[in-house]
Structures are given as C-alpha cells and as structure tokens.
C-alpha cells in the first residue's frame, strides 16, 4: 500500500464533494421533520432527482437546468407522499417506504436510455486570484456553485428557524400539531410545503451524485445516501449546523475510504465499502440518548377532529 498516493489537499477538498449530496438531502429532511413529519422516502426522491437532473442536463447541455429539474422532480414525487400522509392520513413510515420503492423503480424506467451517457461538466466557481492562495484556495475555493449553495442553504434554514416568525410557526407545528391547529395555523398546508421543500432538496442532492460526484447514470446509484441523510438528521439533533458538521465528518470518512481503496490498502474493497454504513450505525447508537430533541409530533398523524 502506498499512502503517499493520497494528496492531502485533494483529499480534504474531496470532503466537500462527498458531503454535498448529504447536506442537501439532510437539510431538506431536517425541515420536514421539524414540522413533525417523518419522510422515509428521501432515498426515492434523491434517485428521482438524480435521473431528472441527469436527463435534463444531458438534453439541454446545462447542468444548472439539470439541478433545477432535479428539484422539481424531487418535489413532485414528494407530493405523492404529502397526498398519502396529509390527505389520506396514511402511516408515514409505510408511505415513506412506498415512496422509496416507487422512486427506485420509476427512476430506473426513466433512465433506461441514459445508461453510459456522459453528462455535461459543471464549471467550478471562479474566485479569481483568491483561488491562488495556497491550501485555502484549492481546498475551499475550487468547487462548483452547488457546494456553496448547499452551505448557504444550511445557513438560511438555521436563520429562518431561529429568527423568523415562519420558523417559529414551523417548529410549533412540529412540536404540537393540535395546539398549533387550535391557534389557527394551517397544519396540513405548512407540512405539505415543508415536504415539497424536502423533496426539492433531496432531488438536488441526488442530481449532485449523478452529475458531479460520479458522474454518470446507473440504476440505484444513490446506494443508501438518502438513508444516511435520515440518520444524519438524528445525529444532528435536528440542528442545522450540527448537520453540517456531521455531513463533513461523514464526507471525510467516505473520502478516506475511497482513498484507501485507491491506495491499495490490504483490507478487501468490500469491507471498506461497507464502512460508511457501519459507521452510521455506530454513530446512531451513540446519539440515540438525546431523543428528547426530536420534535414532539414527529411521525404522528394529524386529523382535525374538532
């Protein structure tokens, strides 16, 4: 094995690329869960976003349009979940699973003619002379715009939740939907909007995988990132900045594993490849104690009966 094959600067810069899909998917789900809805369909919405983004980017030649399409695709799929859980009052766990199963199938159907196609490349942001700064330049300022959008989104969600009335209402709905209803807030409308936001975010996250990180289309290519995003929300105790921290830690681990594979470490590839999932489980175990941080109405069905 040859650890010197790992370039530390590229290695650290890779954190951002590895973490971005997670950041998008997880921040969307965080907002959804803060309104008291548990959407286990993240994986399904991501993969739909991955193929929608991929297809549109290939057809139009514009990765940005692709990301836009991914957001729309994810949001449209999430409407199915919103319909089931908010209108038809279906069990959220089962509906989320249905969304994932459906999304995986539907994306495979949509993506048939895109297997093996190369997507257009996304340009990196141009920071001019700043990008020339040693270490900082290549590590922080060498990425595409989506990476920075992800960071901005996390900051936005944090600020909205903490400082605005909309954020206050959103948290209230998640905390106690009956009380929120009694105060006259439109629980279902707020939740549906949040679910759509979550869907759009997951879609963008998925498209980041198919357009930038891999970049190509294969069936089931999100490979559990959506589920890891769900775990990340628990890890973050439903707090945006802890989520960011978690995503980078996780991105770092994935990056390390890929680099070790590349460096030809004596551990078989399969065991390195299972490490992200094992680590997720370990992290979940350590963080399960702080259950009280979960929104009070999480996963409960709301029906205004009076």
């Amino acid at each position: 094995m040859d650890l010197s094959a790992i370039n530390p600067i590229l290695f650290v810069a890779g954190f951002f690329v590895a973490a971005t899909p997670l950041i998008f998917a997880a921040i969307g789900e965080l907002v959804v869960e803060r309104t008291g809805v548990l959407n286990l369909g993240v994986e399904g919405m991501m993969i739909i976003g991955a193929i929608c983004g991929f297809a549109v980017a290939v057809e139009t030649g514009s990765p940005l349009l692709g990301f836009g399409a991914a957001a729309i695709g994810g949001a449209v799929l999430s409407l199915l979940f919103a319909f089931l859980t908010q209108v038809m009052l279906a069990n959220q766990v089962a509906s989320g699973l249905a969304l994932t199963l459906f999304g995986l199938g539907f994306s495979a159907l949509l993506g048939q003619s895109y297997v093996g196609v190369k997507p257009p490349r996304m340009a990196d942001m141009n920071f001019g002379p700043l990008a020339e700064i040693p270490v900082i330049g290549p590590v922080f300022l060498s990425h595409d715009i989506i990476v920075y959008l992800g960071l901005a989104l996390v900051a936005c969600v944090w600020a909205v939740l903490k400082f605005t009335r909309a954020g206050l209402v959103l948290r209230a709905v998640g905390e106690n939907h009956d009380a929120a209803h009694a105060l006259g807030f439109k629980v279902k409308r707020i939740r549906t909007l949040a679910i759509m936001f979550g869907g759009a975010c997951a879609g963008v996250g998925g498209a980041y995988i198919s357009l930038i990180r891999v970049p190509q289309w294969t069936e089931g290519m999100t490979a559990g990132v959506g589920w890891i995003a769900l775990a990340l929300v628990v890890f973050a105790s439903w707090k945006p900045f802890r989520l960011l921290l978690g995503a980078y830690l996780f991105g770092g681990l994935v990056q390390l594993q890929l680099n070790l594979q590349g460096a030809g470490v004596a551990i078989p590839v399969e065991y390195l490849a299972m490490s992200p999932y094992v680590i997720t489980i370990v992290v979940l175990v350590f963080l399960s104690r702080s259950k009280s941080a979960a929104p009070g109405s999480l996963g409960r069905i709301f029906h205004a009966s009076s």
Binding site: M88, A94, A98, G105, L284, H303, S306
Partner: protein, 360 residues
C-alpha cells in the same frame, strides 16, 4: 366540500375491500403507464396477470409461482408481526442474504461429504444467520433506543458487501475458473433443496412458507404473544399497562422476522438459485414489505398477496420478453400497488361526508 369523519369503529368491509381496490387502481394506472411506454395496456395487463396461470405455457410458469411466492410469503409473514406492533424491520433483504450465506456456508463446509443431516443443519444455520442479523437492530433498539428502521436498512448494504466479499473470496468455487460465485449446491445432493415432486416447484421453502402462515395465524388469533403484538400496535401505553414488556416484544418481532427471512434466503440459495453470487439477492426483502401491507398484515392475506406479487414478477418477465416491457416498469407497478393500498386504507377508519365544511 368533502369532509373526513372518523368512523366509530374500523370498517371490516373496507379493510377487505382496500387491497382489491388497490389492485384494480394499479391495473388502471399501470395500464396507463404501459400505454405511455407505447405498449398495448390491455395486452400488457393480460400478459402479467393471465399468462402465468392460464396462458399457453402455464405448465411452465405455475411452479414458478410457488418458487417466487414462497420467499415473499415467508419474509412478509415475519415482517407483518413487527409492523403490527409498530416495529419496523425494513432490512429483511440483508437478513435474507445472511441466511443464505450461513446456510450455504454450512453446506459448502461439508462438501463433498454426503449425509442426511447436512440439509437440516443448513436450515438451522440459515435461520440463525437471519436471526443474528436482525438481532443487531433489535438489541441496539432495546439497549440504546436506536432507530431500528435505519439500522436494519444500513445492514442491508453491509450484508450486500459481505455477500460480494464471500462470492469473490471465501466461498468462491475452486472449480469456477476464477469467476465469482460458489459451487452450485444443486449439484451437491445432500445440500440441494430440490423439488419435493419433480417439476412442481414445491421445495422445502414452500412448505416452510405454509407452516409460517399457519403459525402466524394461530399466534395472532389465539396466543398471548400475538395479542400483545396487536395491543402494542394499537395503543403502546395500554400494552405496557396490561403487562407487555416492550423490549421483549422488539426482540421477538425482529428476531422472528430475521429468522424467517434467513430461512427464505437459505431455501433460495440451496434450491432455485443454487449458488452464492454477487447478485444473489433480487429485492425479495423489499417486495415483501409490499406483500405484508397488501395482505393487511394478516397471515391469510399475506398468502394471497404473496401469490399476486409472484404473479407480477413472472408476468413481468413474460411481458419483458414478449412485449419488450422494461423490467423497471414492473417495479414501478409494484410500488404503485403499495401507494394505492395506503391511500384506500383511509376508508377503513374514516368515511367521507359531503356537505359544508365544518371544521376550519
């Protein structure tokens, strides 16, 4: 304006009608999907639902129904126990893989010795493999309160990697000329889960599935444990008040579902599949979730739903070869079924009232 009114009691009629309605709605919307794909919808639906049972080559497909249906029923029965109690094992796919690896591992370890004891040992090992894999989320949930949904699902990916490692390494056939995959157990008499009546598709896994259905039926209808499961699903606090130990219930439900999924994997690897390969698992563990819900988490319902889902698998294959219907279309079709079922389920507990909105 239409309003939803909660029924004073769950409707038994709708509880039975919802799956039927869901199947019909799926046929309509599935047909629409097939039409969009440029296929004749009626022909496609007929190919999927009619051909395997009554078509020209039904004699060939009917045994396939048992072969595809058995693992689905076996896994779904196990899942239904937990689902009824609000314990969500969605990692059956991983437990299925581990059952197959444990079962095949025992068989391969004895190769080439022949003994009547080898197959029963493999059955035990398969059950143990699935059970152990499910006990990981169970124990973590009981001990640390870890979410079993995420843990059991993560373990699917771990199991898949493990499967790859086994078929490339330890279990690779020495006579396989370097190709991944184990020896074929179908060619090893003591380890082969052969048809009990040649050509019938009736292997030990099918027998096990029927036993599981009967076992689950008696458990849910007559036994204290089944009652505990039902009460926990309806009202966890009432269950705790009545004396149900939630931790034990988690261990039992996850353990049993893992055990049954492991068995399904073992019967598959020693029978229809024959060998451990990288792509051994084909998603039964996930499809079984649909089967469990479609069967209303009721053993008899699951038996019927398992048959129906097996039908869509086989019919889907036929439609793929005859009509060029993409394989993914069938996956979408199955996903739709679950959607519609969940939607129609509303009417079990609520009814529609037409008139003025009464609640703002």
């Amino acid at each position: 304006m239409i309003a939803l009114v909660k029924r004073p009691e769950p409707s038994r009629v709708f509880s039975l009608a919802a799956p039927v309605l869901a199947v019909l709605a799926t046929m309509v919307f599935g047909g629409l999907l097939f039409a969009i794909l440029g296929k004749d919808p009626l022909l496609a639906i007929k190919t999927i639902f009619w051909e395997p049972v009554f078509g020209e080559f039904a004699f060939f497909y009917r045994p396939q129904l048992l072969i595809k249906g058995a693992p689905l029923v076996l896994i779904a029965i196990g899942l239904s126990l937990g689902f009824k109690a609000g314990i969500w094992n969605i990692g059956a796919e991983g437990q299925y893989i581990m059952g197959a690896l444990f079962g095949a591992g025992v068989g391969l370890a004895f190769y080439p010795a022949e003994s009547a004891l080898i197959f029963p040992l493999m059955v035990l090992a398969g059950a143990l493999g699935g059970w152990l894999w499910a006990m990981i989320p169970a124990i973590l949930k009981v001990r640390f309160g870890t979410n079993e949904i995420l843990v059991s699902l993560m373990l699917v990916y771990v199991a898949e990697q493990f499967l790859a490692s086994m078929s490339l390494g330890l279990m690779r056939s020495p006579e396989g000329m370097g190709f991944p995959g184990s020896r074929n157990l179908q060619q090893y008499a003591s380890a082969h889960n052969a048809d009990l009546i040649t050509g019938s598709g009736m292997h030990w896994g099918v027998v096990a599935a029927f036993i599981a259905v009967i076992f689950a039926y008696v458990l849910m209808a007559r036994h204290r444990l089944g009652f505990a499961i039902r009460v926990t699903g309806d009202a966890p606090r009432a269950a705790a008040f009545s004396g149900v130990n939630p931790a034990r219930l988690v261990l039992f439900c996850l353990g049993t579902s893992g055990l049954l999924a492991g068995l399904a994997g073992m019967f598959e690897v020693s029978g229809p599949a024959g060998q451990v390969t990288i792509d051994f698992n084909v998603g039964y563990g996930f499809t079984a979730i649909i089967v469990a819900f479609l069967g209303r988490l009721h053993p008899v319902g699951i038996l019927l739903a398992g048959g129906l889902m097996a039908l869509t698998y086989i019919g889907g294959d036929i439609a793929q070869s005859k009509l060029g219907l993409p394989a993914a279309a069938i996956q979408v079709f199955q996903g739709m079924l679950l959607f519609f079922l969940l939607a129609f389920d509303l009417f079990t507990n609520y009814r529609l009232r037409f008139g003025r909105a009464e609640v703002v």
